[in-house]
């Protein structure tokens, strides 16, 4: 059964699972860790100073989504920040990685914070949700399992959530980077 995991495990699998395996007791013994709001503040400062240096405008929004802080840099002038997203979000991923390190340096704990720039992740999510809806419809029409394209853990979580909401069943199968969500009607 190594090949399949349930959606909840999948979501936690992303960067580190240490936190997830801690028991509640262990957590209570430690001093309280950084809050997601604190993580968001550190990340916002780090990104804001970068924008200042490169003389780019951006409004910064701090949010908590699920169990993660989400820091979004919103474009003031359309297209001005597209180079900080890059092809397929490559630059955005690099910036997120650096921002997580900056947060970890401040808080002393590893961060799973998400960074979005110019609505890139939000748009990706909408597209993924649409793709999931189509796959659900196909599974319902054919009553056969439908396999999605390979996705990273975060993308798979988005799909699992849509499938669960539709009352169908989904599992992740295969090994990274070929791991993909398979949708079944039951």
């Amino acid at each position: 059964m190594n090949e399949t995991t349930n959606p909840a495990e999948d979501a936690a699998a992303e960067p580190v699972t240490e936190e997830a395996t801690e028991t509640a007791d262990e957590k209570a013994d430690e001093k309280a860790g950084p809050t997601l709001e604190e993580e968001g503040d550190v990340a916002a400062d780090y990104l804001e100073a970068l924008l200042d240096i490169i003389d780019a405008d951006g409004d910064i929004d701090i949010d908590v989504e699920g169990e993660r802080a989400l820091v979004s840099v919103i474009e003031v002038n359309p297209g001005e920040l597209s180079h900080l997203v890059g092809d397929d979000g490559q630059v955005l991923s690099a910036l997120q990685e650096l921002t997580r390190l900056a947060v970890a340096r401040e808080t002393g704990e590893r961060s799973r914070l998400m960074v979005d720039i110019a609505g890139f992740r939000a748009e990706q999510r909408t597209k993924l949700q649409e793709a999931a809806q189509q796959a659900i419809a196909e599974a319902q029409r054919t009553a056969a399992p439908v396999s999605m394209r390979p996705m990273n853990p975060f993308e798979r979580k988005v799909v699992h959530d849509v499938v669960a909401e539709a009352g169908l069943v989904s599992e992740s199968e295969g090994e990274e980077p070929e791991r993909r969500v398979v949708i079944r009607i039951s």
Binding site: L50, I53, I54, H83, L84, G86, S93, E97, L98, L101
Partner: protein, 79 residues
């Protein structure tokens, strides 16, 4: 502007931000930015399998309008 951006990104992730210094050199082969850090922070800026160094180079190239930037990391003792 490039050196300032890189200095900021690096200072934010190391334990000894005051030891970070950045110099830019323009040569025939384009721009080279040298970042010197405290020896204890070398691992921080390189990262596992060079992940952090790659992320820094990716961002710097983007900030430079897509033109490649050479980023060299050295420890302060080497300077």
């Amino acid at each position: 502007m490039l050196d300032e951006a890189l200095g900021h990104l690096v200072r934010g992730i190391v334990d000894n931000p005051d030891d970070v210094s950045v110099t830019t050199r323009s040569g025939r082969r384009g721009t080279t930015i040298e970042v010197a850090v405290n020896p204890a922070d070398m691992g921080r800026v390189i990262g596992r399998s060079g992940r952090t160094a790659t992320a820094l180079r990716t961002v710097m190239t983007a900030v430079n309008g897509g033109r490649g930037v050479r980023v060299d990391f050295l420890d302060v003792a080497e300077r």
